[in-house]
Structure formats: structure tokens, C-alpha cells
Subunit: 460 residues, 2 copies
Amino acid sequence: MSQERSLTNRKLFNSYFDKKLEDGTKITLEGWVRSNRNNGSVGFIEFNDGSYFKNIQIVYTKESAHYEEFTKVKYGSAIQVSGTIRLTPEMKQPFEIQGEEVIILGDCAEDYPLQKKKTSFEFLRDIAYLRPRANTFQAVYRVRNALAFAVHKFFQERGFIYVQTPEITSNDAEGAGQVFHVCSDLKHPDEFFGTSASLTVSGQLHAEAFALAFRDVYTFGPTFRAENSNTNRHACEFWMIEPEMAFADLEDNMDTIEAFIKYIISYVLENCKEEMNFFNNFIEKGVIDKLKLVINSDFRRMTYTEGIEILQKSVQNGHKFENNDIFWGMDLQSEHERFITEEIVKGPVFLIDYPKEIKAFYMKVNADNKTVAACDLLVPKEGEIVGGSQREENFEKLQAKMKEQGNEATLDWYLNLRKYGGCIHSGFGLGFDRLLMYITGMQNIRDVQPFGRTPGSLKY
Amino acid sequence: MSQERSLTNRKLFNSYFDKKLEDGTKITLEGWVRSNRNNGSVGFIEFNDGSYFKNIQIVYTKESAHYEEFTKVKYGSAIQVSGTIRLTPEMKQPFEIQGEEVIILGDCAEDYPLQKKKTSFEFLRDIAYLRPRANTFQAVYRVRNALAFAVHKFFQERGFIYVQTPEITSNDAEGAGQVFHVCSDLKHPDEFFGTSASLTVSGQLHAEAFALAFRDVYTFGPTFRAENSNTNRHACEFWMIEPEMAFADLEDNMDTIEAFIKYIISYVLENCKEEMNFFNNFIEKGVIDKLKLVINSDFRRMTYTEGIEILQKSVQNGHKFENNDIFWGMDLQSEHERFITEEIVKGPVFLIDYPKEIKAFYMKVNADNKTVAACDLLVPKEGEIVGGSQREENFEKLQAKMKEQGNEATLDWYLNLRKYGGCIHSGFGLGFDRLLMYITGMQNIRDVQPFGRTPGSLKY
């Protein structure tokens, strides 16, 4: 069926947009039926092959030799249609197909769980293998695809090397998260690798080894957390983007983050117009304006200390946070971050130079010996969206930190990177799925992943 | 240091290639020292920041105020050099830097394990965190990066949707491979997810659910096998590419595979010229010709049955295989595959219509009820490099197969895809790491992965 395959719905729309679609052209198309209604003499089928967000309409009449077959076409079934293109500039849809022949390629059983009536996201989660056919998820996964490619495109255009850091590891990068164990034999879990193995929580440490050989690198792959958190924002398995740059300080890092965020959002707005309009109308009113504000802002830079002072002053002036106990050294909560970016800066802002006690062991300690060269990017309606830092390149300082941390023995190789031509370097990390939530306005991480993995949930 | 960062070694070479590099320009560069020798009055430093395969040469003389500092620069250390560009059209390298100032950004300890003298790949595996700095691995990982991007580019240009299928799963796609168990508590392994969990061996089944919503999709992510195989070609963790296409039969599948293989190899040959010359000269003589043969061939198509007859005839005519017992129904070994592609076809060939008994349960049974619509792509000097098939779209036939297989209960959702608008669809899979071995000529899968995962090996 090679010839028919070449004409996807997207290609048909593209040729319309390019003004190359001609009235009267004979074509054959495949797709799945979204609706079929008729009044006894004229009928309309909406169908879609998933290559483009909009449906194509087929009109069939009693005059068609296949009229009976057309009337029998069921919601959800796969069909092949042959017919003639009719340009309809006066109608809602710019063209339609005058249907002449129809072949039912795959019927759809009566108990089809994905019904036309509006269903809840919760229900759809339970039929995760069918929900990609629902409108919202057509949009979500198409934006997901565009966003993933934009990530690669940005870094490739800048000469970064893509590194697939390992998933199975004996290291625990953050020294914090609960990890999943990996073994081939539950009774002898250490036997296969000769040591205990777990799923990675971050590719950063491995990426640093590559940055010190290739200058600019990035990872983009799955990471895991065995956290028993049943929130809208926690998943056990999620994709992370972790760039790492040698000869780069915190300023270089922030410049790269800013360019990156603007690039990928612009890419999605340009390449997923229909989908973003859908999100703007039905999922988060104003999401497009929210994203355009980010693209058009110069990202401000503010110290953590200044942020704390602003928050304290706001409390003194009567502002009520859920947590009103603001002090230097605290971990900011989402409400505090959002207040700074939404009310004070009214745009994206990097908070930098955090207290060393609340940040990871590998971050570079500043000259004040109290703060580290970290930068968290805060954006309106979200709070923190990217976390980065300059890494400690001094062997002795990092060694002391790792002794405290107790990971000097297992991560000796990581420490040694500072001994053999180590140099200043910086990097950042962001969760791809949460970024997608921010861009689409979807409220639950389970609804932006192809098959979400959360505690108690592993049906597919 | 933002300004210096913008000038990578690659950019310098690019501006030379674009004929924009001017003699006398003052520049500042960073990189790692590959060698430093001097005769007491003139010295030469070779260095490289990892952004381009070739080193840059710095010349320093007694006249330089920093002469003493230059002489002290050690192999392996990170430096920043300021100097003047000198075009040297009569020399081996087309330009050099007349060094004026040097700053040692990161010293290199005397016990640096990566010494200049030629070391074995086996030794380098043991210092996996440093080997990206070695010539061979600079080339390997840069080709790996280009190849990964080529994969995305090919599918994105054709409208395929990238799906990140899950790593943690309760399904076992092939029903064959040994799987890694995943749990948060080794004593209660099923508690976290409420069922036993393992690492995926293939994203295909999940990709099929997406193909039946988006028409053309692909996965590109890690997969796992807990096989205790200590061969050059087996790893516990490796990246797979698994495209899946709705409304596509076996012919469409082969057309796509052929276009894909030609595209990604061409991309690497065009974008990694220096690296491929290196492999051609030092790793596999003739590897470029091997790849060009693939690009320039029309891929033949031959049935398994015909392949068996050819092999039998060759044995009758005196050809000696290690396994000379050729019979219809056997699984072909590498020597048989290579004989067909190298000696008979003298180029790439699809072997199709394999006995159903030796292929996976989800493949479409042909009208003869003996063979399935599978296609394995065989290439010279390798054997099988891609495996694909049309999938069984008939509910009853697949159900019968799954009953035999005993996976009807756990994969009921997969079976149901045939009930709700299922249609003919096809797909293929290939191991990214083995593809990279084939393209570079590297002989051990451990040497093409950033940090290889094999039984007994989990140091990093």
C-alpha cells in the first residue's frame, strides 16, 4: 500500500497551506473515525490519522455507490477512503473530501472504552493505551514530541555532545533521593553486578566526566525516584535534561539557560500552533501569553539574600504566606518563589548564591564561605523550573564536602576529575515532564507522560 | 568568562574552513594539553577543548614574557591561552597560535592514569571516566552524538512522533529475555507498584498503542537485558530505536528501513569526516567503503526459504560453515547471514517471511500459515542489523498466539488494540550501540557506550 501511505492528513493540510491543493483532485486517505452522522441522504464523517491536529471531513451522498458502507462506518474504526477534494472557502473547514469509496480496515467493538462524550482525565489514565486518540492527548504528545526535538536541536546547533549516561548505577548523585534497586535475582541482589545496583537519579556526575573531555555536553534520558509521593507533580520515572559545560562560570550557565528556555518555547509556539491554541482555549486560559512573556523578558538576576529580604519586607507590610516564617537559610517554598517572580519581578528571574547548607555537595562554595554558586530559574505561574550551579572544581574543598557526605569512597572517580585537568565548569538540570506541564498547562504529570509511573500504578 | 567561551576550537576551525580566519588576530582559547615539548628556545603545545577532533598548536618562544609558564604546562592540564593567529599554509596544520600568555586553569597530577603512550581498550575501560579524552573515544562519542541526532532528524522530517515509552514495566515484550527486577524494598519487591516490576526489554508494544493514534511514531531510549553473556556484543543496558507505523505493510516497512539506514549513515559520513577518516585508518581499514556500498545499493529482498536453498546449495558445492546443518526452520547464524549478504548478494539484503516458530508472537502470520511477515536486514561484514515485521492485526489470530504464549492476561490491553480500530501496521527495531559499532568499526560494545554495563561491571 506504499502509494497511499505517502499522503498523510498532515501532508494534505500542508499542501492546502501552500496553496497547492486543487479542487477536484482524486485522493485516498486512511484514518480513524471521530464521528459519523447522516440525515438519510447526506452524511458526514470526521476522521483523522493522527498526523495533524485537525480532522478531515468526508461528505457522502445517496449518489455514492458506497453510500450504505459509509453509513455503517463506526466511531473509532480505521478506514480507507477514496474521493475527490472539494475546496470550501466559505465553510469552517477549508476543504472536504467528497467520499466515493470506503474500506473498513479495522472495525471498532461496541464496548470501546473511549467514548465521544467528555470523560475525565482520571478515567483516561485508566485506559492509557487508548487515550493518545483523545483530543487533549493528541495535543499533549505532539507538543511533547516537538519539545524533545527542540531540546536536541538547541544543543546540536551549539556544538554540544549528547551523552547517554547510564540508567543502572552504583552511585547516588544527590545522596538524597530514595532509589529503586535493580537486580536479576531478588534473593541475591548484588550477585549480577558484583555490587548493589540502582536506577539513576541524575546523569550529572557522569556528564561532568564528559564535559571535561568535550567542553559542552548534555544528557537527555530517563531518571528515577522511588518516592512514595502521590502528588500531581511527582512521578517515579521522568526524563531529565542535564547540560554540562567546561570553562563556564555561573554567568555563562545563566546565559545558556536563558537562551535555551527561550529557544524551546519559541520552537513549540511556532511548530504547534493548533495544539497551543487548544491548550489556551481549553486547558489554561492565557498559557500562550504566559509563555510569550518569558520569551520577551530579559531574565533578571537576584541573590537569594535579596530575595529573603524582599519576602521579609512583604510580610512586614502585611502579605500573608502560608508559611510566613521567612529567615535566611530556609528552603523557599513554591509560594515564596512565585511571589518573587510574579509580584516583584513580574517575569523570569534567576535566584543565585543560595546558602550552602540547603544545596548539593558538588556546588562551588563562594568566597563568603556561606553561599554556593547556584542559580534557580523562577518563572510566573510555576516557581522554579530550572536548577543549576557552578561545580566545585577545587579538589580539597570538594574532598572535605564528600567526607562529610560520606560518598568519598564510592565517588572517588568523580573527585579525581578535579585532580586531572579539572577546570571551572557549570551545568543545569530540568525535568522534561514538568517543563511540558508548564508549557501545556496540564496539571498532572501523569497526563503528560506516555504511560505514567507512580506508586501503586503499573498497569501497562 | 563569557566572551572567551564563545570561541571554541571548532569555531576556530570552522572560520578557517570558511576562509575567514585572519593572520594576526588576537584570540583567547581554552583546552586540555595533549603534548608540550621545547628545545630550550622554542616550544610547542598541542591542545584541544574537545569541540573538534583536531588539536590546535601553540608555538611559544623565549621572547614571550610567559616563556617559563609555557614550559611548565603539563600534559593533561587545563589551560587558557592568549596569542596571535598565524596562518601556516605550508605546514601540516593550516594555522597555529603564537602563544603570548598562559593561565593554568586546572593542573594535572603526576599519577594521571591516561598516559600518552598507547594503551589498550581494556585498560581504558577501567578508567571510563577519563577515556573520553583519548583520541579513539573522542571520535567514538562524537560519532555517537551525530548518529543520535540523525535518528531524530530522519523521523522528525517525516512527521513521526517521538514517544518515550516507559522503562519500568509489568510487561515482558518478547516473553523471552531475562529481565532485571525493580523494587524500592528488596524484602517486599511487589509493594511499591502493587505488582512485580521489571526494566523494559523493548518499547514496541507501547509504541504500537501510539502508532494506532498518531500513525507514525518512534521510540529511542534505553532497554535492558539481564543476560549473563560476556561477549563483545552483549550489554545489559543499551539504547534501542523502535519505529512503528500504522497503515503500513511489510513493503512500506522495508522502504522505511532502507531510507533510514541510508540517511543516518550519510549524515555521519558528512558530519564526522575527521572521525570517520580516523576509524578508516586506525580501527577498520575500509570502513568508509563498507558504508558507501550500503548507501549506494538498492537493498535486495529475498525470502528466508530462498536463503535456505542458497545455503544448502553452497554446502552441496563444498562450502564449509561452522554449522553445516542447514534446514528450513533453523535460526540462521551470523556466518550464514554474512554468506548471503557478502558472497551471494554482495550488498544489503532483506530476508523476509521467516518460519513462524522462530519469530515473536506478535508477527503477522502469512497466508501459507507457516511463515510470518518479518524482515531482517543483513549487511556485509555484520549480518543482521535491523529486525522488523508487520504485526498481527487480527484479534482472533493474535489471541490464539497469546494463549499459547501465556501472556493473554498481562497483555490484554495490547490484544485489545486489535479490537478498537486496529489496522495493519508494521515496525522495526535496532540496537543503537551495535549500529554504532558497525559504523565505527569498534569491536566491543563496551567501547561505544559512555559507561558500559555488563555482568560484574558497575564501577562508575
